[in-house]
C-alpha cells in the first residue's frame, strides 16, 4: 500500500520532491491529529456524496482516520423512487446499509450532527459527543423552505400531504394515495423555483404517475404540473414522450402562465398561484429547497441558500478545510443550477474533494478535477433518456464542455433506431443505479 501511495503522490505533483505520506503527516499543528497522529476526516451525511467520499478516502489512503456521521441506519435512494411510486420499481431496491463502509474501515456513527465549530475544527453531535477534525466533508443534501408555500408544513408532509422529495416513508405514502385514485381524478404536482434537486425529477414523476393511470384502467385521470419555472430539463424529450404515451393526460402550466404555487389549502386540496387555483384529488407539493440545515447553520451558504465552493476542489469559500459536496453546493456556471443537483454529480464531486484533501494533507497541488454527470429518466416502460454533462478545469476555472454532453436525441433518422435508443437508456438507467449504489455504499 505505501508504495501505491508514494506513486500517487509522486504523480500528483510535477516537482520531484518526495513528500511525506498522508497517514504519518499530522497537518495543522498536529494537536487535533488523533492519538496515532493520523489525519482525521469527518464526513457528515451518508447519502450519495458523503458515502462516496468516506469510501474513496479509505480506498485511496487506508491510513486515514475517517468517521461518517449519518442520522439514518438505512439509506433510501431518491433515484428510482418515482418508479416505486408508480409500482414499476421495488422499495427494497432503493435501500442501502452502511456495512460495506464499515468493512472498509470507516467509523460509522449513527447520530445527528447539530453544530460545527469551524474555528475550533469540531463537530457536535446530538448524543453529546464532539468530534475533532482536520478536514470536514459536508454532504447533508437539501432541506426545505416550507415558508415558500404558505399553508404547507412539515407536519402535513409527514401525514396527509407527502412531498416525497426525500425518499423514505413519504415515497410509500404518496404511492398509496396514487393507488387510491379513481378514474377521472386529477393529480397535481407543484414544482418550486430552481434550483431544486434532480432537475428532471418532477417531470419524471408526472410521467410515472401517468404510466400508473394508463396501466391500471384509469386513463381518464389527469396530471397537472404547476411550475414556478418557465422551462425544464429535457423538455423536448418529456413532451415527446407525453404526446406519444399519454396523449392529453399531462398538462404543464409554466410560471409565466401563473404556475408558481405560493399557497396551499389542505382542507380543499387546492394549491394556488397569484392567478390560478389548482384543485386536485391528490396534491403533491414539492417545497422550495435550500442547502442542508447543518451547512446553513455553519454559515457556508450564500444569500440564496446554497454553499459556494472553490470549483476545482469543493473546498468551502467561507471556511478553510471544510469541503461541501452534493446538493448543498452551487457549483459550475450553468444558469440557475450551476451543476445539476444529482446523485451522479454528488458522486463525482465527492471523488474530486477526496483527491484535493489527500493532496492538501501531503502538501502538494490538487489533481486536475474532472466532473461527469448523467441523469437518466424513465418516462414509460422501454422509454428512457438522459442528459450528460462534462465539466473540466481550464485556466483555473470550471468550464461546461459544450462539445460533449447534452440530451439524448429527440428525433433520429429512423423510427427503429429511436425505439432502440429509448429502450437502451431505460435499461442503462437501472444498471447505472445498481453501480452507483455500489460505488457509494459497497
Amino acid at each position: 500500500m505505501s508504495f501505491n501511495r508514494r506513486e500517487f503522490l509522486k504523480t500528483l505533483t510535477t516537482s520531484t520532491v518526495i513528500v511525506p505520506l498522508t497517514a504519518c503527516a499530522a497537518p495543522s499543528g498536529g494537536k487535533s491529529g488523533g492519538s496515532s497522529g493520523k489525519a482525521r476526516i469527518v464526513v457528515v451525511g451518508g447519502g450519495f456524496g458523503g458515502a462516496t467520499a468516506a469510501k474513496y478516502l479509505k480506498m485511496m489512503d487506508a491510513g486515514l482516520d475517517v468517521t461518517l456521521v449519518e442520522r439514518n441506519k438505512t439509506f433510501v435512494s431518491c433515484p428510482l423512487s418515482n418508479e416505486v411510486i408508480s409500482g414499476h420499481g421495488k422499495y427494497e431496491d432503493l435501500q442501502a446499509g452502511y456495512d460495506g463502509l464499515m468493512k472498509r474501515g470507516v467509523n460509522v456513527m449513527f447520530d445527528d450532527a447539530v453544530a460545527v465549530d469551524a474555528a475550533g475544527k469540531s463537530v457536535k453531535l446530538k448524543s453529546g459527543k464532539t468530534l475533532k477534525y482536520d478536514f470536514l466533508v459536508l454532504s447533508p443534501g437539501i432541506d426545505f423552505n416550507y415558508g415558500g408555500v404558505a399553508g404547507y408544513t412539515e407536519a402535513l408532509a409527514n401525514t396527509t400531504h407527502p412531498h416525497a422529495y426525500k425518499a423514505g416513508p413519504q415515497t410509500l405514502a404518496l404511492k398509496k394515495q396514487l393507488e387510491g385514485m379513481q378514474d377521472g381524478q386529477t393529480f397535481v404536482i407543484s414544482v418550486p423555483p430552481g434550483p431544486f434537486r434532480c432537475p428532471p425529477g418532477p417531470y419524471e414523476r408526472a410521467s410515472q404517475v401517468a404510466s400508473y393511470f394508463k396501466h391500471h384502467g384509469k386513463g381518464k385521470c389527469k396530471v397537472l404540473i404547476a411550475d414556478a419555472n418557465d422551462s425544464f430539463s429535457k423538455k423536448g424529450l418529456f413532451e415527446q414522450a407525453w404526446k406519444m404515451h399519454y396523449p392529453g393526460m399531462i398538462e404543464w402550466v409554466a410560471g409565466a402562465a401563473g404556475g408558481k404555487v405560493v399557497k396551499f389549502d389542505a382542507k380543499t386540496n387546492t394549491a394556488s398561484s397569484d392567478f390560478n387555483d389548482f384543485k386536485g384529488d391528490v396534491v403533491n407539493i414539492i417545497p422550495p429547497h435550500h442547502a442542508g440545515k447543518i451547512a446553513m447553520d455553519t454559515g457556508l451558504a450564500n444569500d440564496k441558500g446554497w454553499c459556494t465552493v472553490d470549483m476545482l476542489t469543493m473546498e468551502s469559500t467561507k471556511h478553510k478545510d471544510i469541503y461541501v459536496v452534493g446538493d448543498s453546493t452551487v457549483h459550475g456556471e450553468l444558469p440557475v443550477y450551476g451543476a445539476p443537483k444529482s446523485a451522479h454529480m454528488a458522486n463525482t464531486q465527492a471523488k474530486v474533494a477526496v483527491g484535493a484533501i489527500i493532496a492538501k494533507i501531503n502538501g502538494v497541488a490538487a489533481p486536475e478535477p474532472f466532473f461527469v454527470n448523467t441523469c437518466y429518466s424513465i418516462a414509460e416502460k422501454d422509454w428512457g433518456f438522459s442528459v450528460v454533462h462534462i465539466y473540466r478545469a481550464k485556466d483555473g476555472k470550471l468550464i461546461y464542455d459544450t462539445k460533449a454532453g447534452g440530451i439524448s436525441p429527440v428525433t433520429m433518422a429512423d423510427e427503429s433506431l429511436l425505439k432502440l435508443q429509448r429502450k437502451l437508456e431505460s435499461e442503462y438507467c437501472i444498471g447505472w443505479f445498481k453501480n452507483i449504489m455500489a460505488d457509494a455504499f459497497a
Binding site: I390, L420, L424
Partner: protein, 190 residues
C-alpha cells in the same frame, strides 16, 4: 499467485490498487459510477470493462468520440475527452484482470445458446473467453442483459456499428436465439 478468493475480492473492489497511474486514474475513477470499481459492473445492463483487450477498448472509445459508432449514452461522454486520454484509459482498463460474473441459466436455455453459438466460436472461442484477436472482446461472464442489448444494436440496420463481420453474424441469428446465446456466454467462467 492469484487465488480465486482474490479474484472474488477484486470483483467487490477490495483488491489492492495498481500503482497510481496519474491523471488517468483520476479520470478512471469517474467510470466506476457506471461500470463498477476496477471495471467490474454489478448492474446487469451495464458492461464490465476491466480486462477487455486493449485494442478492442481503444477501437470503441475512439469510434465513439469521432461519431463513427452508435451508442445510446457513451458517445456524449467521450467527446469531452482527448484522444490521448481515451487511449490511456483503454490501456489502464485493459491491464486489470477480467473478472467474469458467472450467471445462472436453466439447462434448456444453455443448450439452446450453445447450439446457436456455433457460428460465433471461430472468433470468440468456444466459451467466449478466448477471442482469436485483440480486437475481439471477451464474452464469458459478461452480463447477459448487456450482451442482449448489444446484439440488438448489431441487429438494427440503422445503428452505426462499423464491424461488418460481427454485424453479419448477429443478423444471422434467429430472434429466439439471441437471448439464449447471451445467457450461454454469461454462464461461462472461462
Amino acid at each position: 499467485m492469484r487465488s480465486s478468493l482474490m479474484i472474488a475480492m477484486a470483483a467487490l473492489g477490495f483488491a489492492s490498487h495498481p500503482a497510481y497511474a496519474g491523471p488517468t486514474e483520476d479520470l478512471a475513477r469517474t467510470c466506476n459510477a457506471c461500470h463498477g470499481v476496477n471495471g467490474v459492473s454489478v448492474g446487469p445492463s451495464m458492461p464490465s470493462i476491466g480486462g477487455l483487450p486493449e485494442a478492442y477498448l481503444k477501437n470503441l472509445m475512439l469510434q465513439w468520440k469521432s461519431d463513427e459508432r452508435y451508442s445510446a449514452t457513451m458517445g456524449r461522454h467521450f467527446k469531452g475527452y482527448t484522444e490521448a486520454e481515451l487511449s490511456a484509459l483503454a490501456t489502464y482498463f485493459a491491464k486489470m484482470p477480467w473478472v467474469p460474473v458467472v450467471q445462472k441459466a436453466d439447462d434448456k436455455t444453455l443448450a439452446q445458446g450453445k447450439a446457436a453459438s456455433d457460428r460465433c466460436e471461430t472468433c470468440h472461442g468456444a466459451t467466449g473467453g478466448t477471442p482469436d484477436d485483440a480486437e475481439t472482446p471477451k464474452l464469458n461472464g459478461q452480463w447477459a442483459d448487456y450482451m442482449h442489448l448489444e446484439m440488438m444494436k448489431y441487429r438494427t440496420e440503422a445503428a452505426k456499428m462499423p464491424h461488418k463481420k460481427m454485424r453479419g453474424n448477429a443478423k444471422k441469428l434467429e430472434e429466439a436465439d439471441v437471448e439464449a446465446v447471451a445467457k450461454y456466454y454469461a454462464a461461462q467462467p472461462k
